[in-house]
Symmetry: C2
Subunit: 118 residues, 2 copies
DNA sequence: CATATCGTGTAGTATTTACTACACGATATG
DNA sequence: CATATCGTGTAGTAAATACTACACGATATG
């Protein structure tokens, strides 16, 4: 179920380690502040993905988009949740509306908003 | 901290009970399938808000928007989270972009998207 | 070849989440 | 005025979450 997360994490780390050898399990674990044995289990899917903070630390260390790694762990960051929580009707409706839309339509909206076309 | 949630819930129930007297704490608790003493504590802010499922059941019973009641409990429904989790980059970027926008601008976008203007 | 680093196995634990069960005195109802 | 319903107090608990600590044999390094 979290195979996605664990496999992706292990692959990402191994790829980085192939380049610079600064990405042994122990070194990454140390930088993200968790026990090597814990990270080992997480990478093999024996343990559930860690907390949001640890996932973010791992993502930054491995140069992965935090939102993406969190999503693979089945999570949405507290930051994004808080945006919704402030205007639940508005964003609830919007998300349900955009759910079925293709990426490009949503991207267009993001672009329009960013360029101030409204 | 969850004063918002508890007060809102109690008020909503008392208002409904004033009309029809089918909204005693015990009756609402029974319909939402939780112990009266538990709901009592929740309404007084002694206990944290219950699980998503119970909050939704309460919202439906009391005719409150589930997203809104969940938000007051500091939660985002698993349904909405799953929409984000399927396309985390896209919706992450979008939410951060829309965060600072006024309601009316967002509503306009939702309307445009709904009417197929892209 | 000593030692440093590697990934992993076992065995826990503290905290949070999400509740139930039961009993009580107060109030309302028939 | 008996009894039904009310809200609430006390005392738990099962399961999930999020980890740590330590030890081990294998492999790499100087």
């Amino acid at each position: 179920m979290t195979r996605n997360f664990s496999d992706f994490l292990r692959n990402a780390r191994l790829n980085k380690n192939a380049e610079s050898k600064d990405f042994s399990l122990r070194k990454v674990a140390a930088r993200a502040e968790l026990e090597p044995s814990y990270l080992s289990k997480i990478e093999r899917g024996t343990e559930a993905p860690p907390s949001e903070d640890k996932i973010k630390a791992l993502a930054i260390d491995l140069e992965i988009e935090p939102d993406v790694l969190l999503a693979m762990a089945g999570k949405v960051s507290k930051e994004l949740q808080d945006i919704i929580i402030k205007r639940p009707m508005l964003f609830g409706e919007m998300l349900r509306e955009l759910k079925q839309m293709p990426d490009r339509a949503i991207l267009k909206i993001v672009r329009e908003v960013r360029d101030g076309e409204w």
